[in-house]
Symmetry: C2
Subunit: 414 residues, 2 copies
């Protein structure tokens, strides 16, 4: 993509309202813009990051046999009334009426709708297990939207629901999803912890949260450096690890995903039953598994940046490499840049080329701010000797290499 | 994917409420389910079709330099009040209030929001042209939702907006998008016409609609077989072509896309201006371009089916091929099927394998109903002689071939 033709509105200063570093940097680097309280527009770079994260999530979901579907954002009230959550949930739920005066709500989660579907489509033990997921917009009227895209009123969520004959089946599905979540976070380049949590409004018996350490975190977790124990609670004076008795340390962390053993709470309420091997009717046993792609993106920025800007993990960066054309008025520089751009594209390496008519200083500053993991700097002096500079954003190490060597290295990494 | 583990709930009978053939077949073949009036759940097969269509749309948008972004579904009322559409639009707009009692609406289209964005980010003629699109949920409280996924209250739409300095720029962008639309429909395997249309509530000067001939169509268009003239109106007695004077014929057709020269209606209202080469402030000139992926899917079914079921165009089918394992209790048959499935997957051919423990009759009926363009039938007698049957769904022609020949042909087509 060409910088000159793309909407990448970088800002010199951080907007006054931004506090979290991910919020500041994603605004400054032109990834997102706030439309209204808790409502964000994803600009081209921000949307590319989200798509890369979604791709990783989909690959891992598909690899454990989960099936992608899509459910509406707009829900009829009746189904939420049947589980009782229509009245249990307060102002967090957006409610409205349609033109025929029927009560509707906007989906803050999809247990009700998917269980309704299961009640219609699953009949027998032969139809089980099933595991259905979607990557779909959720709407929650948060009392205090904050921290940029960490806590918004509208956001994408990958929500997955498993359906089993019994607790043993649920246990197996829960384990499979837990492992898939570990792979997703690792592939996205995040540090994370898995901690036990309270099922809360979701109901059910057991739940775990996945937490990414970050200064903008809303939760405090306690950690044991020795045995790896972690829990979602505040540290107390003289707190010792219950497993190995070492002193515990505290860290701020945002939740980036959660998994719940829902059991039969929703299936009993919505009569999602199956006939077992003996022809006896039984409620289906459910699990649910959520991940917020935007929270992964924001957590990655919280965990990986320096004073000049973002340092994206290679797996979720908006581009693999940025080509910085220093002298737009020099034919050799232009030709070498364009040739690199063409070759990289043809090898499947996603490249952003900074072809704007601005000073080298502006280009360097913007490149570091945007945080694409690799930069190829094409300048007049080096190109005359047949070299370009290959810069690694994370360490800022620069190496003089032949253009074909730069292509080779990036193609291999890719 | 394995049929035995996938949610493909085929139905023998058409549900009573379904009238349009696309509605009947997409319900019977297990592509979609209706949650409530005008609200649909896409099951795995339906969602795969939509994703394939979206991929084609994205490729064509990207190829003309359009940039993908994402805007919220939930909008603050203020921006819609500024353009006047908050009061102009009636019950078709879903309206609600948030917890602080602010008026909000659900996005039925995104001219207001994108123009707001342009007003913040575009300053100078150097920033133009721009072209931003998204594939995002739209919500419209239709008075009479009908015909399955042809007219729903919630649907995905690819909406694209262009921003230019002047009419000449808009003309160029309009032309580029018009041509991209032609490529999209062709690649999706649709018959279609482009007709002039009334800009209606969108405003602006010129608009065109793309219409797909279909018996479930809500519009009547007139066509000239000789010169290709078409218009969006009912045929009158003795109607002659205004271009070549041949008799006109009438056809039913669904609108599957539209393009508008919006001009400055929204940019003046929302103060989206730029400084021209002389430093003079001018309103940005806009165009907008919409396509409904679900309408493409439904139109494809309307145009391509027989009494046994759907016949998907190869480009948008949920799978490239279905492997039908006739005798699940015969080792040779099972082995040959599994081996074909593995080889096809490894070559990037999307295969559905019918590994259910049901009769051959049920498998044949379901395969024809689902409408995957190619079938490979693996049966006991043929496999003993080293053959499988390769069946082309459209013509039902069957050819006995070696398994490696079937793989070769499908890999080449793919």
């Amino acid at each position: 993509m060409r910088f000159s033709k793309t909407l990448i509105p970088t800002l010199r200063e951080a907007p006054a309202e931004a506090e979290a570093i991910s919020h500041i940097l994603m605004l400054r680097a032109g990834y997102v813009r706030q439309l209204a309280s808790g409502l964000y527009i994803y600009l081209p770079l921000g949307w590319r990051v989200l798509n890369r994260i979604n791709k990783i999530i989909k690959e891992e979901m598909d690899s454990i046999g989960d099936q992608e579907i899509s459910m509406p954002v707009l829900h009829p009230a009746e189904i939420w009334q049947q589980t009782g959550r229509w009245s249990e949930i307060g102002e967090e739920m957006f409610r409205l009426r349609d033109r025929t005066n029927r009560d509707m709500c906007l989906g803050m989660t999809h247990e009700e709708i998917i269980t309704w579907l299961a009640s219609k489509e699953i009949r027998s033990y032969r139809d089980l297990p099933q595991s259905w997921y979607q990557i779909q917009t959720k709407l929650r009227d948060e009392a205090r939207p904050k921290s940029g895209i960490l806590r918004t009123r509208e956001f994408l969520m990958k929500d997955c629901y498993s359906f089993d004959k019994d607790e043993a089946g649920l246990e197996e599905n829960y384990k499979k999803h837990e492992e898939a979540y570990h792979r997703i976070y690792k592939r996205c380049g995040l540090n994370f912890y898995q901690v036990e949590s309270d099922p809360g409004m979701m109901g059910g018996s057991t739940a775990h949260e996945f937490m990414a350490p970050s200064l903008a975190g809303e939760d405090e977790i306690v950690l044991c450096d020795k045995c790896g124990y972690s829990a979602n609670r505040e540290v107390e004076k003289g707190d010792k690890c219950p497993k190995c008795n070492e002193p515990l340390k505290a860290e701020k962390a945002i939740e980036i995903g959660n998994i719940f053993k829902l059991g039969t709470k929703y299936t009993i309420a919505l009569k999602a039953v199956y006939l077992d091997e003996q022809g006896k009717e039984k409620p289906i046993v459910m699990g649910c598994y959520g991940i917020g792609p935007a929270r992964i993106a924001a957590s990655a920025v919280e965990q990986s940046h320096d004073r000049d800007g973002i340092i994206w993990p290679e797996s979720i960066a908006p581009f693999d490499v940025e080509i910085i054309t220093l002298n737009m008025n020099k034919t050799e520089v232009l030709n070498a840049s364009e040739s690199l751009y063409g070759v990289l594209k043809s090898r499947g390496v996603d490249a952003l080329i900074d072809d704007r008519d601005v000073s080298p200083g502006v280009k360097f500053k913007d490149a570091d701010l945007i945080g694409i993991p690799w930069q190829i700097v094409v300048g007049e002096k080096n190109i005359k000797d047949g070299f370009v500079e290959l810069k690694y954003r994370k360490t800022k190490e620069v190496e003089k290499v032949r253009p074909e060597e730069a292509v080779k290295r990036l193609t291999e990494r890719h």
